[in-house]
Structures are given as C-alpha cells and as structure tokens.
C-alpha cells in the first residue's frame, strides 16, 4: 500500500519516543521538577550532578520545547533563576510514560534467543 509508512510499525513506537525527554539528563531534570513546585539553578545542579554548561544547555532545550518555564527573580539583589514544569511538560511526561510502558511491556513479552 502506497500510504503505509516504511519500516516495521511495531518498532515505530520506539522511534516515536519523545527525544526531548528521552535524554537521561533531561529526564532527570523533569523527574525532579515533577515532584516540586519550582527550584533554582543551583538546586538542579546539586541534585542532578550536571555541570553548569550542561545543565544550561538542557534547560534551554526543555524551555524551547515548552516543557519548562524559566523565570528570574532577585532576592536581596542576588539573581535567582527559578525553573518549573509547564502544563505541556506534565502532559509530555505522561505521554512518554505511556510510550515507555508499551516498549518495556513488549520487551518483556518477547522471546529472547539464547546464544547456546
């Protein structure tokens, strides 16, 4: 059929995984943000163990995807960058969880060939 997508449809679920979330560093950030209201940049650094540059780059990607909201505030004239999960980000995590559940369930059900 001409309108059918190329490749195996069963494997397509894996290809369709949200790559913005799938990266371990970004998944760590989102997992943390999912259980709090908001955190600052330092807190994300201490909890995830990411370097400043690395964290900054991941936050930019997540912000561009609309998954997080970054705001700046001043506390006693010291800048504080606050990060929180957006509604879109929360929905994306739910969708990702469903996709991953399908993949893991399929993996557990599949017979694995032994080398012997």
């Amino acid at each position: 059929m001409a309108d059918e997508e190329p490749g195996n449809g069963d494997l397509q679920v894996i290809a369709d995984l949200d790559r913005t979330i799938h990266a371990p560093a970004r998944l760590m950030i989102l997992a943390l943000l999912a259980v709090v209201d908001s955190v600052d940049f330092t807190f994300l650094m201490t909890q995830t163990g990411l370097t400043r540059g690395n964290l900054s780059s991941h936050l930019t990607k997540l912000e561009e995807a609309g998954y997080i909201v970054i705001t700046k505030e001043f506390v006693e004239r010291i800048p504080r960058t606050l990060v929180r999960l957006s509604d879109e980000g929360r929905a994306a995590i739910q969708a990702y969880r469903e996709q991953m559940r399908q993949v893991v369930d399929a993996l557990l059900d599949a017979p694995v060939n032994s080398s012997q």
């Binding site: 997992a31 259980v35 201490t46």
Partner: protein, 199 residues
C-alpha cells in the same frame, strides 16, 4: 543500578535535605543553653542572647543553606495557613496552661497534691515550653529528630530532678546536647555541600 529507583521517595528526600543543615537544632539548643546559663549566673545577657536566633535564623538559612543546596519550593499538601493555625493552637494551649498554673497556684486554689508536684517538678513545665517548640517544629517539618529533642528535654529534666541536680545543670544539659547535635549536622552539611558558584 546501585539503588532502587523510587520517585515517591524523591520528594521526601528533597524535603528532608533542606532540614539537614542543623541550623534550627544549633540555634534552639543555644537558646536553651542560654536560658540555663542565665539561671546559673543570674546574668540576663545570656537570656537576651539566647533569643538572638529568631532574627538570625532566616539570614543564616539564606547565607549557608541556599548557596550550597540551592532553593526549592515544594508542592505543599498542607497549606501554610493550616500549619500556622496548628502552631498557633499549640501556642495558645501552652500559654493557657502556663498562665493557668501560675494564676491557680498564686490563688492557692490547686489541690495540695498538685501543688506538691509543682514544687518538685515546676522545671518540667518550663522545659515543656521548649519541648512544645520542638513538637511544633516536628509537626511543621515532619522531621522526627525534633520530636526526639522534645522528649529528651523532658526526660533529662525529670532525671535531673530525680538525681538531685541543680536546675541550671539539667536545663543546660539538653540545650548543650541539642546544640552539639546541630553543630555536628551543620559540619556534615558543609562538608557534603560545598558552595556552588553564583548563576
């Protein structure tokens, strides 16, 4: 994986890490110690100094804890208003009990057995006010060691009375122990979380 992954525990760990700096323990321990020193020396400087922690607690939290651990705002299930009401309730009950004891004992309208008990164990009532503070801290933060401190204060005062110690000694003892525990926690916290450079 070296550890079992448990996201339901993540929030709890984040929350407790915020109270692992030992600041409240140290300052409140010093407050009790100051109260005891005031009793021992009759020097009111210690009494005034012992309350210094109230204005310095938040600035210390902001200058010691936040630069190291970062800042986190949690999704509180219990609202601030309901927790404030709870603490206010504890405060009112404590104040009423304390005032009630003072008024009734001054009038001499308390039963003799109660008056005898008060004569021997009146320091447990004063210690009870400090203990109530820690009960409030435990209810506010759910950190169990605050409840242990509350029990420790009353237990040490009771033991001190039973052993015939002087009141300043058994007042300073729990204060010193709590301050030491707080100092130990603070040192461990400083070691675990070095200052992270500004943004």
């Amino acid at each position: 994986m070296s550890e079992k992954l448990d996201f339901s525990e993540l929030k709890k760990k984040i929350y407790f890490s915020y109270h692992e700096d030992g600041l409240l323990d140290l300052l409140m321990g010093l407050c009790i110690l100051g109260f005891g020193l005031n009793m021992a020396t009759d020097n009111s400087v210690f009494l005034v100094a012992s309350w210094i922690w109230i204005p310095v607690y938040m600035p210390m939290k902001n200058s010691i804890t936040v630069p190291r651990l970062g800042y986190v705002r949690l999704n509180e299930e219990r609202t601030l208003a309901s927790r404030l009401m709870l603490l206010l309730g504890i405060g009112v009950v404590a104040a009423l009990l304390f005032l009630g004891v003072i008024v009734f004992s001054a009038q001499g309208s308390l039963p003799v057995s109660v008056m005898d008990w008060l004569r021997t164990y009146h320091m447990m009532l004063i210690g009870g006010l400090f203990a109530l503070f820690f009960v409030g801290a435990w209810l506010w933060t759910a950190v169990r060691r605050f409840l242990v401190y509350a029990i420790l204060i009353e237990a040490l005062i009771f033991a001190g009375i039973q052993l015939g110690m002087e009141p300043p000694v058994y007042t300073m003892l729990p204060g010193g122990l709590i301050a030491l525990a707080g100092l130990g926690k603070l040192l461990r916290f400083l070691q675990k979380y070095p200052v992270v450079e500004g943004e």
